[in-house]
Structure formats: C-alpha cells, structure tokens
C-alpha cells in the first residue's frame, strides 16, 4: 500500500490516531451510530482533547499542538478508517479555529480555547455549506453594546454540544457577509433538536434561531467571504483526507471479507469480477492518497496554484469515496447492507462528507473560473 502521505515525522501522529481509533472508537462505532443521534460518548471527546486532536493546527500557546495540514490529514484519515464522526467534529472545529486565526481574531479564539472542558472549546459552524450558498443568512445589527444577530441558520455542525458558534450574517446595507462569534448558551439563541442526518451520526447538528443574540465580530465587517475562502482552500485537503480514510476502511474490510466469504465453492476473491471491483477500489484509493499527499506538499511549500491543487483533490476524492464505498457494500452483498458490519456506515459517511465546504457543482465552477483566470 502506498504511504506517500506519511513523511517520517508523521509516523507518530499516525500511530497516535490509529491507537486512539482502535481503543476508543472501534467498539463504540455501532452504538454511537444508533438513534437517537448526536450523543457522542463524553470520554471520547475528553480523550481526543487530551491528545490534542481538538487543536491540531492551533498554536501551542493557545492550547493546540501547532501542527500543519499534513498532520491534520494523517490524523483525520486514520480516525476515519474506523469512524468518521469524530473526524467530522475535528474538521468543523479546526475549520472554525482557522477562520478565526485567518481573521486575526486571536484574542477571541484564546478566550474559547482556554477551557479544559472539551465541549467548551468546540466551535460550531455550518461546515456542510459555503455561506455564500445561503440566500437568507441571519442579519447583524450594530448597537452601542456591539453587534446582535437575528434570523435563522440551518445545519450548524456541533451546535448541540458546542458552547460557541461561528455564524455568517449580513450587515444591513453591506454586500457579502461578516462572521460573528456567538455564545450558544445565550437565552437569545434557540437551538433546534439534533438533526437526523445521512451520516456521521455522532457529530451532532442543529438548526439555530437567533433573536437579537449578542455577537462578537470576527475580523472586519464584510470580510467573511475572504476569511472563509482562504481557510477553505487549506481545509479542502482535510475534507479529502476524511474521504480517503473512509475509503481505506471500506477497502480493508471488503478485502478481508472477500478472502473469508465463499461462494461457488471458493473464496469470492477468486472470482475475477470480484477482483476487478477490488482492483478498482484500490486504484481509486491509491490515487486519492497520492493526490492528498501532493496537495499537502503544495500547501506546505506554498507552490503556485496550491489552492487549485487542494480544491481539485477534494472534489476528486470526495466523489470517488462515494463510488468506492458503494462497492465496499457490494462486495459483502446483503451483509454489507446491515448495520453490524460498518460498510453501510462508510457509504453514508462518504456521501455526507461529499457536501463538506459546499455544493460540489458550485465548487467545480469556481475551480474552472480560477484556473481560467490564472492563464
């Protein structure tokens, strides 16, 4: 198996994430996927926090472990082989933290990350969309005491458990949107019930209604799209790493199963059509790994067009993960469709992850516009 994502210095993160996933996630996977959703075991979050997974890219003086995008990808990929829900939590929290950093809102971020309680340091964000896709964002009003937000916003990831939310909102009379940090414990914030979603059931999501809720501006007014885009450009590769991990989990299980399950008198891996399906899965998975690794290289070295590389990788890997996990069920036949085996969960999680950071067709159009403008 190709391990191009792994530089030598990443091995320790891989081992750390692998051991964590084996000990803390594997035996909880089925239970945490069960209805009612959105109830991740507190001990998992506490352990993840202890290992630094809730602040992978956060500077050490802010309570993080100060790593770059490659470490983030290695950890997400390793965790997703077992269960993508925690990866979705880490992804959303990292995305929100990075936006705050990009916006220069270091003090705000420091106030959030100072706590030792993992739920207190989580920042929720509508990470399955680009705020520009929303026609009706909440609106912000500036008063003597600062800003207040009113309106509603859908599908805010981590809202049911996080204490803070990074909310995009429009300021009357201005184009674009601005970003605000809102305390979700405020009585002026109404959180809906945890939503029933397709996948990553242990990463809770809720709709939010704001009724003049106090909000702190992140960065400058009207600069929301710039902060989001700049951060998303880096986080695309992390979204791809999530899909890569899901794919790897699906392939590993399918390969093991195909050596054990017999049909027609021998293990199904001996049927050439099964070999073809498994080979296609392996090809997609290995190419995805190379793409993620190259995107990490490009980001780390800030080579020209690194953002195009990251966007392209995400669009490709998020898509093929849906195809690979579909085959991952198919190899197991009826058993693959049952909740006992994990393959159906990977299929759902891959489809869920495809929507990270916004609608794929819109991202494709942005990509070609960007490539065209670079000529």
């Amino acid at each position: 198996m190709i391990t191009s994502l792994l530089h030598d210095d990443m091995k320790s993160f891989q081992d750390l994430a692998h051991n964590f996933a084996s000990k803390e996630l594997a035996h909880r996977r089925e239970e945490s996927d069960r209805y009612p959703f959105g109830l991740f075991d507190d001990t998992v979050l506490a352990k993840a926090h202890e290992l630094g997974f809730l602040g992978i890219t956060l500077p050490e003086d802010m309570g993080g472990i100060g790593q770059g995008v490659r470490a983030l990808c290695v950890i997400l990929e390793c965790i997703c082989r077992t269960d993508a829900s925690l990866a979705a939590i880490i992804f959303t929290n990292t995305l929100a933290q990075e936006i705050l950093l990009k916006a220069g809102a270091v003090d705000l971020l420091r106030q959030v990350t100072v706590s030792n309680n993992p739920k207190d340091i989580l920042i929720s964000f509508p990470s399955y969309s680009n705020p520009e896709e929303h026609k009706n964002l909440p609106f912000a009003t500036k008063g003597d005491m600062g800003y207040s937000l009113s309106g509603s916003i859908d599908y805010v990831v981590l809202a049911p458990i996080a204490s803070q939310a990074l909310i995009p909102a429009r300021i009357t009379g201005q184009d674009g949107y601005s970003l605000f940090l809102v305390d979700l414990r405020s009585p002026k914030v109404k959180k809906g019930e945890s939503l029933f979603s397709l996948g990553v059931h242990a990463c809770p999501v809720a709709d939010i209604t704001l009724n003049g809720a106090e909000a702190r501006l992140v960065g400058q007014e009207g600069k929301g799209p710039a902060f989001f885009e700049e951060t998303a450009n880096m986080m695309y590769v992390a979204a791809a790493a999530v899909s890569l991990g899901i794919m790897k989990g699906s392939f590993d299980y399918a390969l093991t199963y195909s050596n054990e399950r017999e049909q027609g008198g021998w293990p199904i891996i001996n049927w050439s059509e099964m070999k073809m399906i498994l080979a296609d899965m392996a090809i997609q998975m290995n190419i995805a790994e190379m793409a993620v690794s190259e995107a990490c290289n490009a980001i780390e070295k800030k080579v020209a067009g690194w953002d195009v590389c990251a966007k392209t990788t995400a669009l490709h890997v998020q898509n093929v993960a849906c195809l690979v996990t579909t085959d991952g069920i198919q190899i197991l036949g009826g058993y693959g469709y049952m909740k006992d085996y994990g393959q159906e969960k990977r299929f759902r999680d891959a489809a869920q992850n495809k929507a990270l950071l916004g609608m794929a067709p819109l991202r494709k159009m942005d990509l070609i516009d960007q490539i065209n403008s670079m000529r």
């Binding site: 979603s197 049952m338 759902r348």
Partner: protein, 500 residues
C-alpha cells in the same frame, strides 16, 4: 428491397430481430384493455401515495430507528383495505385479476414515494409468483383462497419468499453455482412429507407473512438435482423467526432470519420435488427447478427494475422541486444551465429505466411466464366473465388436470431460447434500473448539497433505500452474468458461464 427469405436469414443473425424488438413484435398481440387498466392502476397508486405513503414514509422510517423491531402491521392493514394484496391475484383464484405486467408501473409509482412501503406490498407478489409458477394448482389455489379471504376479513394473509442462506446467497440462484456452494437447508424425506432443518436469512416480510415459499435440498452435496420447493405456514412447529435485521434502508419492510428445526412439511405443502415432476416430464429435476427459478426471476427482476426506476424518479422529483424553489448565487437553481443538465440526465435515467422494465415485461408477455394470461382471448375472457363463473370453475384447480396441463406447457414444452431471452432481459433490466436508482440519488444529493443530508428533506432516505436494490434479487454482478448467459452466451457455443 431484398427478398423475404433473405430478410429472414439476415435477421436470424445476432442480434436477432425477435430478441431486439420484442415490444414491437408483441404490440399487435397486446390486448388494448391492458392500456386503460394500467392507466387506472397508476392513478390508483398515485392516490395511495398522496393519502398513505407520503404522509407516513419519513415518520415510519424514523419510527424504525427509534424501535428497530418495529413491524408494519398497520401499513399491511391499510394496503389490504386498498385491495393491493389481491389486486394481481387471478380471478380464477378469487382475486381482482389485474394484468400482471401492470404491477411494475404501480411499483414504480409507490417506490417514487417510498421504496420500503412499496416492498411491504410487492414482496407478497414475489411469494405469490413463486407459488403460481410452481404450477401446483391445488396448493396454489388453497393458499390464494386464504389471501383473498384474509383481505375480506381484514386480516392480511401475505406470502414471503425464502431462498437465501447464511453462507449461500448468490449460489442458490443458479443451478450452475449451487453445487459448488455451501447450502445447508436440508429436506429429509419421511412418511407423508419432509422434515426440514436449516436457516434462511434476509427474508423480507418473513416475520409478518402467513405463508413462506422455501427451497430446501434432499442432498446437500448435489443440491442442483435434489431441490424441494414447498410452502410453510408461520407458526408451524419447528419453524421460527430469528433475528430482525438492522438494515441501512427500506427499514419499514422488515427482513428476518427464518429457522427450521425438525419442521415437518406435509406432502400437501410441497410444490415441486423429484416425485411430482414425474407426472408431467422426463426432464431431470435440476432442469425443471432452474426453469422455475427463471420464471420467478423473470417476473421479479422486472419488478425490482421498476423499484429502481421509482426511487430514481423520486430523487429526480425531489431535486426538481428543490431546484425550482432554491435560489443560489442570485438565481433559482432551476435556471442554472448546469443544474438543468443534471436534471435532464436524471430524467433520461428514469425514462430509459422504464423502457427496460417495460421491454422485460413485453418479453414475459410475449414469450415468457405471462404468455397465457396476456393472450387477447384469455385476457378478455378473464376480465369480463363474472366472479360467480370463476367460483364454479375453481374446484377444477384441485383435480390435478390443470397442474398437469400448466406444468406440461411451461416446464416441458416451453422453448429454451424463449426462457433464455426473457430471463436475460429481466436480469438486464434489474441491474440497469437499480444502478439508475442509486445514480439518481447521488446526483440529487449533489444538487441539493447540505439540504440533501437532512432526514426531513427525504433525499438521504432515498439513497439509503436505493442501495439495497443493487444487492437483492441477485447482486448486480450476478445479474450481469445472468444477462450475458441468457442474451449473449448462446451466440458462441464455446462460451462457458460460472466455470472460472
């Protein structure tokens, strides 16, 4: 242009005209009354969707997550009140006698609203088809009378279909594979019947059906030549329900393990075995049994294609509605050219999928299992003769003469090339239609983005439901091979299938 003899000669080459344009060949023989009847049934299904399926689909799906052991008795009751469990039972057996090919568009219609609920209705017809195509008219008559009586009394009497075993899924569907597999459901011949031991898994509606159609084998080392097809009543001593499977989708339609422990099946519940076939054919049991399986699957696979088309249509309609209501980047999504292309692609998938199951059903009507019932004189005779007349005729079904005649016609006299063609086309339809189902759900998810992920929008449920279609009624991989075997392999005699 060219002489008729030359036309005939040329058109016997692969691909043969009669295999490639079955709908065209069948058109002059199609009873016109079927068109109106089918239209009325689709309208009836749409009304059922409006009044029952759409209001319940998401609520019931959520309920099955809250209570994984939920069983759809209420839904069965409602479906029974609407007459769905006798709608396609021939009048000769006391049913409503609608034309059997029309089941497919009705299933498409209901699947466009909810695949799980569609299967609460349709799985019964898989059991019913397996029963009827055994052509054991006496047993069929007895059970279908119970089905009709069940509807009259408000106690639905359904038939399930159980062939899959824990370590033999694909293997049990084809005689070329079953001897290489590891079937374990054993039938031991005893005085007056068989004693059955073994397990069946993933049996849709197994727990809630009154009767279950089952395959078992008198010799597990050579099952292809030693199969016994029988029916068992729920509650029979030695027959019990095991685990309720926890599926990703289609959750309102339960799937269960069924367990046989020294379960005695009397001879009057045996449909086909080595003894019964001697009355009408000299052919080996394995050949007869393969044909029985081909008849069942020719009908059921067209139906599963229709389910795939239904879910594809539901996804298309959801995406279309979303696009028409949602503004993205200053314009309604439906006015973005790229979105229009995705919607056109989805619509194309639905249209082509529908043609696939219609063509498979034309083949079944013209050269397959529906041939007798779809002949114009027979169709109109059955349609217009009063029920009283059929009640008078009904005792004839118990004489053995009808069993002999029907078995002779379908098992002894039917041409192999007709069975190959109908079986191959239905397999083609099955994998085409169900791949389309999954594909359209994925396209709709792309179009809807974040909104598609929410249960309350319905789209994510469709994706979960659709995936199972690529697995049951033979995985799509096995259906590709079955399609190759029926439609392509006969062209070259040196071709071998399942002999890797």
């Amino acid at each position: 242009m060219i002489p008729n003899s030359e036309v005939q000669s040329i058109m016997k080459r692969f691909p043969k005209f009669e295999d490639s344009f079955i709908g065209l060949e069948y058109a002059p023989r199609l009873p016109k009354g079927i068109i109106r009847e089918t239209k009325e049934l689709i309208a009836y299904a749409r009304k059922f969707n409006d009044e029952v399926v759409r209001p319940k689909a998401l609520l019931l799906d959520k309920k099955t997550h809250e209570d994984p052991d939920y069983l759809p008795y209420d839904l069965m009751q409602t479906a029974s009140e609407w007459g769905f469990y006798t709608m396609w039972v021939p009048k000769l057996f006391g049913g409503r006698g609608k034309n059997l090919p029309s089941l497919s568009p009705v299933v498409e219609e209901i699947s466009s609203a909810c695949v799980g609920i569609a299967n609460v209705l349709a799985v019964h017809y898989l059991g019913l088809t397996s029963l009827m195509t055994s052509f054991n008219m006496k047993v069929t008559n007895r059970i279908l009378k119970e089905v009709v009586e069940g509807e009259r009394k408000g106690k639905p009497c359904l038939i399930a279909f159980a062939i899959t075993e824990p370590i033999a899924g694909t293997d049990v569907e084809d005689n070329d594979l079953v001897d290489k597999g590891r079937v374990t459901c054993r039938a031991e011949r005893v005085n007056g019947g068989y004693v059955i031991n073994g397990r069946k898994v993933f049996i849709s509606m197994g727990q809630v059906s009154e009767w279950t159609f089952v395959f078992a084998y008198t010799d597990l080392k050579k099952p292809s030549q030693n199969r016994v097809d029988f029916v068992v009543r729920t509650g029979t001593k030695g027959f019990s329900v095991g685990r309720h499977e926890n599926k990703m989708g289609q959750r309102v339609c339960p799937a269960n393990e069924l367990i046989f422990e020294d379960c005695f099946i009397p001879d009057d519940q045996v449909l086909i075995d080595a003894y019964t076939i001697k009355k009408f054919t000299d052919k080996p049991l394995g050949e007869v049994m393969q044909r029985h399986m081909d008849y069942i699957s020719s009908s059921s696979k067209a139906g599963v294609c229709a389910i795939g088309v239904g879910v594809a249509r539901g996804a298309f309609e959801d995406a279309l509605k979303f696009a028409s209501e949602t503004e993205v980047r200053g314009r309604l999504l439906i006015n973005h050219e790229w979105a229009q292309c995705i919607l056109a692609e989805m619509h194309k998938n639905v249209t082509l999928g529908r043609l696939a199951y219609m063509e498979a059903n034309h083949a079944n009507s013209h050269r397959g299992i529906y041939e007798l019932l779809q002949m114009k004189p027979m169709y109109y005779y059955l349609k217009f003769m009063p029920s009283l007349y059929f009640r008078m005729l009904n005792p004839m079904l118990n004489t053995g003469l009808t069993t002999w005649a029907m078995s002779k016609m379908y098992y002894d006299m039917k041409k192999t090339e007709d069975v190959d063609c109908t079986s191959g086309l239905s397999s083609l339809a099955k994998f085409a239609g169900t791949d389309i189902g999954v594909r359209n759900c994925q396209l709709a998810m792309d179009l809807m983005g974040q909104a598609g992920l929410r249960h309350d929008r319905g789209m994510e449920k469709r994706l979960r439901d659709a995936k199972l279609l690529q697995i049951y009624e033979g995985s799509n991989q096995i259906n590709r091979i079955a399609s190759f075997k029926g439609l392509i392999a006969p062209v070259y005699p040196q071709t071998r299938v399942f002999e890797q």
